[in-house]
Amino acid sequence: MSDPAERPSWAVYPTHSGEPAEGGVLGRSERKVDGLSRITGAAQFTDDLVLPRMVHGKFVRSTLPHAWIVSIDMSAAMALPGVVGVAIGPELPKRYGVIPVAQDETAMAIGKVRYIGEPIACIAAVDEETAHRAARLVRVEYEPLTPIFTIEDALDPSKPHIHEASRKPSNILRRVFQEYGDVQKGFAEADLVVEDTYEYPGSTHVPLEAHVALACPEGHGKLVLWSSTQNPHYVHRDVAHVLGMREQDIRLIKPTVGAGYGGKCDPFCTDIVAAHLARKLGRPVKIALEREEVFYTHRGRHPARMWLKMGFKKDGSITAVDFKAWAEGGAYASYGVVTSYYLGVFMPLPYTLENYRFESHRLYTNKPPCGPKRGHGAIQPRLALEMHVDRAALALGLDPAAMRTANCIEPDTETCNGLKVTSVGMKECIAAVVEASGYAAKRGKLGPGKGIGLAASAYMCGALHPVYQNELSQSSVQLKVDRSGEVTLFSGTADCGQGSIHMLAALCAERLGIEPDDVRVIEGDTSLTPVDLGSYSSRVTFMAGNACVAAADKVRDKIARAAAVKLGVEVGALVFRGRQVYVDAAPERALTFVDAVWLAEEMFGPIGEVGGYKPHKIGSRFRRQSVGPSPAYSFTAQVAEVGVDVETGVVTIEKIWVAHDCGRAINRRVVEGQIEGCVYMGVGEALYEEQRYRGGLMAVPSLLEYKVPTVHETPEICTFIVETHDPNGPFGAKEAGEGPQLSTVPAIANALHDATGLWFTKPPFTPDVVLAALTTARRRAGSA
């Protein structure tokens, strides 16, 4: 078989997008093209949409964690004036899920409930209050089953299966084991071995907008579905699959989305049941979740128990890493198969490592399903790894910053587990935060209760392999150029606040020498826009950006050819800038962009082009390494300065310095916003956030008791952008939306050690826990 890389392909790789124009769009710090509409309230979210004859759906949810459903009595609910219809699980028997090998979910429970809050039935009524009241009148009779709540129980073969069809010996969704190099030999060569266990809590995303879907039947058996989703393509596929419809008979539209952070990556009961009820009732149906329901819908961070053993040489180099993780995933798979890989595959970044072994388990329990949350699967092990590096540095008498820098991988290397790394700005990131924070002068010298800590991390820019096997584009962009000069950009991407609309407008404008405002971006509409796989795994800037540049290059070429004829020069002599096309050597010889477009349409007919992107087949030494490889990797370093109140245990984060290698900043303000957002979420996970349970009942499904930081608790964040111009990113750009969160919690944990002399291995670092640890340590010191 020939090397797939040599196969002729339409795919753009690398992009040859070259250097941006001087005085062009790239690298500016400016407001997003859609920024004002969001902050003024002009943007239309799914719940803003109202249709004639629209009714509202409300779910009846399980009150038990694990039980057979004996009966559902809806008579009282149906007798309530205003109730127009109901649906129950067995009406939608097809199982679905984004990951083809783990489709274990139905839109509503069929025969059995697996977590508290699982939807059982849905009531449609003329208004939301009536639907809510009716849902409370439904009586469900259960036959309770033994629930599985812990890692131990999930691994216990004598315990019942949560999914009866599972052929695994216990409640394991996926076990992954990988070994590279010779781990035993690595430890034998080590001068120092550090070994410990860590526990990372589950947490949730807290998007401001709850999940909403609105479905409207069209004539001829077709359907329009509006959904607040990050992944229109996967929702489209799964809704069609479950409803037994042709995909082309469903138009899925993603209106403005009020954030996702991974929480809107799955197709949800809202989407499927709204569509189902709309067809059943022949009228529009809206389902808008309540905040309590968003908590139960979950898909949040997997709580993980971890064991890490690392070997070090005296000079700080790493001789071996042995890592085990158990992730408690809740009742359904969601993206859990991917999680099981992400827990381990990024550990060989960013430090040189030859001998690596990891084993991970993703388990089922009778709790709301976990899924992808910002930094998916990589957040938890990063805490362990970065704390281990600090522990080793202190034990070896090395400066933790210098030790990290000395062990950074170089650009254009392949890690022991086959990750092909192109651009690397790790050392520059470390240098930036160490210098700005005064880390070297402050470490160990800030006095009692004060500390400073450093951590580094790396993350992916999209998955090399799509979640379902195909050789099609992973991102595509279509451009239409109007003779008015307006450029309309169609893309299946899903801006969920992170700025992908602006990213596309800016790249297109940069290429055509116009302003981002001149580009109207139509995105996330399956009938209008070509497919993009969605906003997950930090893929959109890299992949959709490349597709966008490819399409813009084709448009540019046509315009340039027409303009060259008019101006009597070669195409290569032309510059596109400032809404003009002009001769580089003689700028006075110019056409306006509009005139140039007019000429191009005269020469070629209507102007419209498409561009697509799929990653180059990067041949890996390791056949099984299908989850983890990415076309590029981003790098982050951060320093946290903290204070600990020794009387109360309250931890205050004074300041965070963060540097992120995003390849190239397309819009500096958006990049800074993403980095700061990552740090903010990290601060929340360090100090407060933990998805607590009372048995199978989520302890605090409300934003009053599930604490996320307010402006008062958010530290000053000093942000540095490091640009490494990745050879394969659009104009060298990489991701910025997830990677920066990886090192926040470990930087804080390392700072806490500097402040207290204690290693806190289990976030969140709440005052009661911190004070108890300080008290124990004082007692021990007193008795010693």
Partner: protein, 308 residues
Amino acid sequence: MLPLPRFEYSAPNDVRDASRFLAEPGSQLIAGGTDLLVSMKQRLFEPRHLVSIRRLGLRGVTVQGGVVRIGAATTLAQVATNLTVREQFPALSDACLTVATPTIQSMATLGGNLMLDTRCLYYNQPAGWRASLGYCLKREGTVCHVAPKGRGCYATQSADTVPALWLYGAEVEFQSTRGVVLRKVSDMYRDDGMAWHGVGRDEVLVAVRLPLAEARVGHRKLRTRQAIDYAQVLVAVRAPVADGPWAAVISAVASSPLFVEAEDPTALAEAAFRASQPLSTHLPAATWRKRMVRVEVARAAAALGDGR
């Protein structure tokens, strides 16, 4: 989203009309509504009839005969920024500014704060959650999840202004068709999470009266975040007046505020610590909250100086 249950709404012009409405079963007084409406959304209250005090003319701060009288419908923001309050009762001003957020302070009223329902981790939750739990003693259930073997409800008194008002010697004026009744803040609350006050259902809280005196009071609220959150421990401390003792009121650790006195700040903190028996009504460990009572009282006392 979470819809409100249906209800009728009246805003009478006269306190006696309001009192008559409130005497009817299923009616409920509403002032700022910042807490009540949330509780109604959670189906903790499903009143048939909401009776608003907004047209009763209960807003404003007046000074007469050595007494400052604050109308019950005066918002917390207005109380906090009133010059007389800031000069004479700074701890009350501070307390108002610790309530939730500035937007809520501009809606919430002083009367509403005094009548804030007792709170608990197992009670102030959405309806679906409480159904899964099997409800609790305070609402729809038979068991207290904080103390399953206990005999009562341990929901905590959580009104931010109460400890300061108590130590300033405040009185509360209630009016009904039966006339006007005055109650001292220090007599108003009972140590029972369900029947936490003795106010009749037809009584309208119309004003708070504060005697102009030389009391120096400090207020502290322990909470996870410096906005939004209810108190985990609430303390007010009064420096000695003449040769009297130090005094403290501790709240958010029991169904009623606790009052302690001692000769010096250290003894006061110790007395407060010993008097407080917080239970698992809040997320942070109860043992930690108990320790925090001592710290917070000591810090409040320290901020007042040597008491002279």
